[in-house]
């Protein structure tokens, strides 16, 4: 019985964990794109009478994967992960599909405007940011660069 409860708990927690996902869509120049993704998202979103709030949502930068190991290293380096290991979203308040929050990357805090929708018990949120707003310099590697503006999608289960 204990084993069954443990197994069910584990399955349930994995299911809950799998709902959380951050996907950063980065456009390459001259062409192409990649997605930097992590499902290791800490924090929780709480449903209120008027919408949603969250005190703090965070990801460890070095948990973000781009599909190519070398690109992972460049991505972490570009986001200055050694000095500022986490990206955080704080003071999240939303209602009627629109939200605001403070995004901190590279130690720089920038207010962001977010649109979201509810899909079952998951909040699916999208926003755009500019790397330059976080004092991240333009980056290129052997002639291929990344665009300043990136699209971020966050999916999180809520309580």
């Amino acid at each position: 019985m204990k084993l069954l409860i443990l197994t069910l708990t584990l399955i349930f927690s994995l299911t809950t964990w799998a709902k959380n996902n951050v996907n950063i869509h980065v456009t390459l120049t001259p062409a192409g794109s990649f997605n930097a993704v992590t499902d290791k998202v800490r924090g929780k979103i709480v449903k209120t009478d008027t919408g949603f709030t969250a005190k703090r949502i965070e990801v460890n930068i070095q948990n973000i994967k781009t599909g190519i190991d070398l690109r992972d290293e460049h991505f972490w380096e570009h986001l200055n992960a050694k000095t500022h290991s986490k990206a955080t979203l704080t003071e999240l308040k939303g209602s009627n599909g629109n939200a605001t929050a403070i995004l901190q990357v590279n130690g720089v805090k920038v207010p962001v405007s977010i649109t979201y929708q509810e899909n079952g018990d998951v909040v699916d949120a999208n926003f755009k940011v500019k790397a330059s707003d976080f004092k991240l310099p333009p980056k290129s590697y052997l002639g291929v660069g990344v665009s300043d503006e990136v699209n971020i999608n966050v999916k999180m289960g809520y309580k």
């Binding site: 120049t29 794109s33 190519i68 070398l70 590697y141 002639g143 291929v144 699209n151």
Partner: protein, 383 residues
């Protein structure tokens, strides 16, 4: 027998690298990895680094070798070039080909398909000028590569000058491939053979390339291969328009018209590339070609289709499935299906091993031998 082998050599010649399926790694355009924005030919520095760190396995390297080091040694002569002007690449590709194995019609042969050297000069403040070309031993010294060409022991498949005043626009002039459809490595593909855009259909011409946001457009005018006897030269023009959808996929259309003293060929196709993530991809193309003979006015409309999947279970390994369709005359019932699995392995950077099995089935009332089997093993090295 010599003729049979020569025929296979011609149709199975494979150009170096330029795989549409790398959209599965997020690369919607060839421009990131090749000097030629429509693919094929020499890899640029970024393309070499991607081949070493994303395409090739790292199982044979010790953990102490970093990805950065793998990228560093991906350059010609195993190091990062010390100058920015000249880039070189050398290729060798060999085939083992088994046709109808274990039957009375069996043929098998090892063939050197490609042994060439490529060079690109990058000039100007922002490397906006390039002069690129390749030269190598012909895989079929006993046969001309195109109708109306001399037999050649050594030949050049491409050479051109390119000018790219902005990242969004470039113009290229010289001997190049025609701009049309999905540029598959399999030149046996119906989608390459019918519109005559295979590796030996290169032509002298001028190509413009435009890329911005979600759009990529190619426009080409050509006068045929100038080494051909004049009546054989295919003159005409083509365009290819691609649009990125969903940020990671591509759909496009192509059209091509060409004419020599013997025939006119008009072709059009729609094509798509889906990024299935983690290096996996799905490619599809459907098109139609109309051929009309100049002398008697007889015409034939051919329809073709292609579906290819590339699944990447782990780095360095791709499982392929290839399904092709051809209806040589759309007004008749006969058609051909070609189907086969394949395995492509990049065990270490600069090395590609590939095995393909093709079954070609002819759905014709009059054809007594419906199946043709072909097994290909190929080895490709580059420096």
């Amino acid at each position: 027998m010599k003729t049979v082998i020569g025929f296979f050599l011609l149709i199975f010649s494979i150009e170096s690298w330029g795989y549409e399926n790398f959209i599965g790694h997020g690369y919607t355009s060839y421009l990131n990895c090749h000097y030629n924005p429509f693919g094929g030919g020499q890899l640029n520095d970024y393309g070499r680094a991607v081949s070493a760190t994303a395409i090739s396995s790292r199982e044979l390297y010790p953990d102490s070798v970093s990805e950065e080091q793998l990228a560093y040694v991906s350059g010609f002569l195993f190091r990062k070039p010390k100058q920015d002007i000249l880039r070189l690449q050398a290729n060798y590709r060999g085939f083992s080909l088994y046709n109808n194995p274990n039957s009375e019609n069996e043929t098998k042969r090892w063939m050197t398909m490609q042994s060439d050297i490529r060079g690109t000069l990058q000039l100007g403040k922002n490397k906006e000028w390039i002069i690129s070309g390749e030269y190598g031993r012909s895989p079929v010294q006993d046969f001309p590569l195109q109708e109306g060409l001399e037999k050649q022991d050594y030949y050049s498949r491409s050479y051109y000058v390119g000018y790219r005043p902005t990242p969004n626009f470039g113009i290229y002039a010289g001997l190049m491939d025609k701009v049309y459809g999905l540029r598959l490595i399999e030149h046996i593909a119906f989608s390459r053979q019918n519109p005559r855009v295979s590796q030996n259909d290169t032509t002298h011409g001028v190509t413009t390339h435009f890329i911005k946001d979600q759009w990529e457009i190619g426009l080409q005018g050509f006068v045929g291969h100038l080494d051909q006897e004049a009546p054989y030269r295919m003159k005409g023009g083509s365009f290819k328009i691609d649009r990125t959808i969903g940020g990671i996929h591509r759909i496009g259309i192509s059209a091509l018209t060409q004419k020599n003293d013997f025939q006119r060929i008009n072709s059009a196709s729609i094509h798509g590339k889906l990024n299935l993530k983690e290096g996996s991809a799905l490619l599809a193309e459907i098109g139609q070609t109309s051929k009309k003979a100049s002398g008697n006015g007889i015409s034939q409309d051919t329809r073709y289709g292609l579906l290819q999947t590339y699944l990447r279970p782990w780095r360095g390994v791709y499982f392929l499935t290839n399904i092709e369709y051809q209806k040589l005359n759309i007004h008749q019932d006969d058609y051909i299906i070609r189907f086969g699995p394949g395995l492509q392995i990049f065990p270490i950077q600069r090395m590609e091993l590939r095995a393909d099995l093709y079954n070609t089935r002819n759905f014709s009332k009059d054809n007594t031998r419906k199946d043709n089997w072909l097994f290909l093993l190929q080895t490709h090295f580059w420096l």
